[in-house]
Structures are given as structure tokens and as C-alpha cells.
Amino acid sequence: MSSGSYSGLRLFLEGLRGHRGWSRAWNKATPRARYRVVIVGGGGHGLATAFYLASEFGITDVAVLEKGPIGLGNVGRNTTLVRSNYFHPDNVRFYEFSLKLWEGIERTLNFNAMVSQRGTLNLFHTEAQRDLFTRRANGMRLQGVDALALGRDQVRAIAPLVDLDNGRYPVLGGFLQPRGGTVRHDAVAWGYARAASRAGVDIIEDCEVTGIRRDATGVTGVETTRGAIGADTVCLAVAGHSSHLAAMAGVRLPIESHVLQAFVTEAVKPVLDVVVTYGAGHFYISQSDKGGLVFGGAIDGYNTYGQRGTLPMAEEVAAAGLTMMPGLARLKVVRQWGGVMDMTMDGSPIISATPVPRLILNGGWCYGGFKAIPAGGMTTAHLIARGEPHPVAAHFDLNRFANGRTIDERGVGPFPFLH
């Protein structure tokens, strides 16, 4: 039972007959006894992996197991930013691969994901910062990715909310990735779920994995709250809960789970067109299509699965925001929430086989998983289908920690080993 295709014409026709012709966006499937691939986690990466397995690699005997309803994990809790302005060349390649997939996502999924490439602006406040950003921008340009250096007047023109002449942290300029921006997060979850379901994947909600079955040859299936399910390959795509699931297979990961808070204000008329990140503190902000200003800062700084966070970091985020944009003081924050971040020891993700044969891990996204959803899904599907890493994701190997090839990516922020 397909929901049919989406279009303005169909919306109009359905409007004429009271919207009786729509059916569920995705089937709420009943678990079968066995699948070729079981994906644990129905978030952005799990759903995207399932979709690309079916659409790119012709593997449709796939189940996505989600412990609650689709879309309530980190895919529904992020600040919707997409960009590829990283430093390490391998990371630039990977996130640019993702950004290019974002640029065609509405056509791929037949779902309006509201991809809005209004620009990502990184402010800097010292000459040393300018040098660091210049190095990063040049690295991007060498790979054909867009990056521009802006002076103060140009920053004022595109982001008038910014207080350029702050006494302590004056703004010297900014670096802009014009193709960076935002994507509607709920649309990503629902769009991938619908497309995967239409391609034949079973999406099974309210199904929590409680154990991973193995024998001498490797993984054989999972135990869940809805019964045991056999599988040739099990893929974990559970972000902040990666350690929790991996422990069920006897695997210990280089991951600590931390909370990242995010906030949104009441809705106002358009006042901020670009995404802005602060150079004198960990703070970033953008305005959603609904009018609210969405912002956040750094992780709270202690292991937690609590998805809420505490006041000291909320105050620090507010202080940074008000220093950068004093006009924000007029707004009321209407919602605050937290997600569980799978922080790796080098700040870069893991898309890799594990010591347990046929157990694949997609995780370690720290706080940058949303922008990577299309590339994460595509490269994880490649790894599952072809048995070897996709070229743009090969550096995300789990063994890199033991092999001394950790990824020195400065653009992602501190990793827990430094805490």
C-alpha cells in the first residue's frame, strides 16, 4: 500500500475530495522471522542506509528496528544545519559528498525536505583565527568546495544582528560557505522512511533490541521486545546508544555519550538569513522557516543518556548568544531539549566493520550527524552490500584508534579525551 506520489497537483485534487486519498507515509510493518539485513535504529542514518540498500544496491530484504516511533531520536532533536566546511581533506570529501546528495534529495525522495542553502558564516575575532579559517577555506577550495572570506562590512550586510564592535570580542570578519544552510529535520526522517518503505523495506516501530545473537561465525540476529529476528548482517545506527548496543555483542567502543542542548525562540518575522557561528565561544544560530531562532552551543560535559542537560551550559549558551547578537535579548525561549551525542575519541565518526563478523557500526557522529545523513546512509549501505568501505568513508574505520590513524579534524570541536 503506497502513499502515492506527492505533488502540488495531487495536493490540490486531494483538497477537492477532503484528503481521503492519502494513505500512510510508511507501512508500520510486523517483524518477520528473518531478514538479510537488520538495521538497529530508525533515525536518519538507519533509514537512509535502508533506503540506499534498496534503491542503490537492490537489497530489499531489510528491516529497520526503531525502539519508539520514527523521528523522535536525534534526527528530530538537531538544529538542522548542513555544511561541508571541514578542515581535514578526507572529511571535506565526505561531507561534500553528503551536501551534493542533499542538493538532490527532494527529487530522490519525492518529499519536500526544504533544503535551504542560505549560507553558513563563521565569524572570527583575532588574526590567528583568520589564519586558521584561511587555511581551512583554502583546503576546501582545493577540493572544489565553495568558501569565501568576508570583511566586516560584508558581515554587517548579511547578518545585521551581529554586534561587530563588541568591546571584548570585536568581529574582524567571517568565512562563508554559500552552499551551507539548513534542511527540515522532520522531513528527512519521514522522507527517508516513506521512500524506504515504498522500496520494500520493513520499518518496525516500538521494537527495542535487547540482545545481539552470535555464534562462532559471527552475528546471527537480534532479540527484541517483539521477538527474536534472524539476520545475515546486523547494522547498528543508534548514535548516542552505540556503546549500549555494541556491549550486547561484547564490543567496547571509543565513545562517550554526552548531552547536547538546543533551544528555539518564539517565532518572529525574518531577521536572520544565514547560519552564523561565533568565533569567541561555542555558539551557532539560524532562523527556521517558521520564524523561530534555533541555537545551541557546546556539550554539557559529562556522560549522560538523559536527553535534557542542566542550567550551567544553558546560561553559557545564552551569554555567548547575547554577546554576539545583543538584539536576541528581546526574545523568549519557548523550547529547550537535549540529545545523546556519541562522542568519539578523535571527534570523527565510525562507519566500519567491527571485531564481530557481520556486525556493522554506523556511529560516533559526535554532534555532527545530521548533515551526514545522506552520505552516512550511502556509505554504510555500500559497506554492507559490497563488504568493503566506500572510498569517501574509508578513513572512518574503527581500527584507526589502534593503528594510530586518528583523524585530526579541528573543525568539529573538542573530543572527550580532553575533558
Binding site: M114, G167, G292, K332
Partner: protein, 189 residues
Amino acid sequence: MKGPARIAPGLLTAAARPVTFRFDGRTYQGLDGDTLASALLANGVRLLGRSFKYHRPRGIVTAGADEPAALVDVLGAEGREPNVLATTLRLRDGLEAVSQNRWPSLRLDAMAVNGAFARFLPAGFYYKTFMAPGWAWEKVYEPLIRRAAGLGRLEPVAAAHPAPAETVHDHADVLVVGACCSRPARPSA
């Protein structure tokens, strides 16, 4: 009694102290102790805003902080304050407030046409359309949607917030702790 709809002096208002204020460009009289909402109601003003999406007429629904509809922008020398609840905004002399999210006026709002097309704009309708042609989302649809969204208006450059804050982060060249000197000595060099 300061207003055609005021039926009796209230417990919180002082009939002896009238207050002059402006809403959407018109001048009214209220009483000291009124909220903006009670003063407008006393003056027979029932239409205060437009609903978020369909721009249906909206008025005052509650008498306190749980008000969902009667939101106004307050103007003044201290800068524009968006999304203020009319039901908790205490009336003061010279108060100037404007309604939100309507053009050209509250009574004749062009976007009210959305209400007529409500059947084509159900919840989440934007996920099912606006996909073709590919270039139109960023150039046409999204700018229109962004302009239609949001209620109040925030000024990009605002004066410092007048209300006292619990926490202040500030920076100084010289910080003097203690008030033993009545006049701070000028630092040398």
C-alpha cells in the same frame, strides 16, 4: 468610566487615574491598573491579531499569562519588543503597541485569503509540494514562506534590554570592587 464597554469600576483599576495609550495608530484612554487587553476591551476593541497560518481573526482569550492569541509588538525609545502578551502588559502613559502578522491592516489582512484556501493547506501540506521546478524553492517559495511566518518583528540592532537581568556578563578595562572611594581615582597612563 474610560471606555464604552466598561460596565463597572474594577478591583485593580483606579478610575481617578486615566492613562492615554495608542494601539495600531489610534489613541485610546484606559485606567491605571488596566492591562493593554482590559483597556482595549473597555474601548470595544476585540480584534487584536491574526492566526499564524490561515490569518483568521483573533482576539483576547484569557486574562493572564496563558494567552495564546493577543500578542502585540510594543514600540518605544528602548526599542521594539515583539510578542508581548496584551493580557499581562500593564498600561502606562504613552504606551504604543501594534498588532502583528497582518498587511496592510489588521481589519483588512491580505493573507486572510489563506483561510479561504484552508482545504488545500492542511497540516504538513508543504512537505507534499513546493518541489517543482527545482530552482523555485530557494528563489520563490521559501522567501514567501519565511515572510509569511513569524508573528512579531525583532529589530536587528537594538538598545540594551531595559529590564534587569539575573546574570550579566560584561567586560571592563578596570574593575573596582568595593565602594570605599566616593569618586573613582583616574588611573595613571
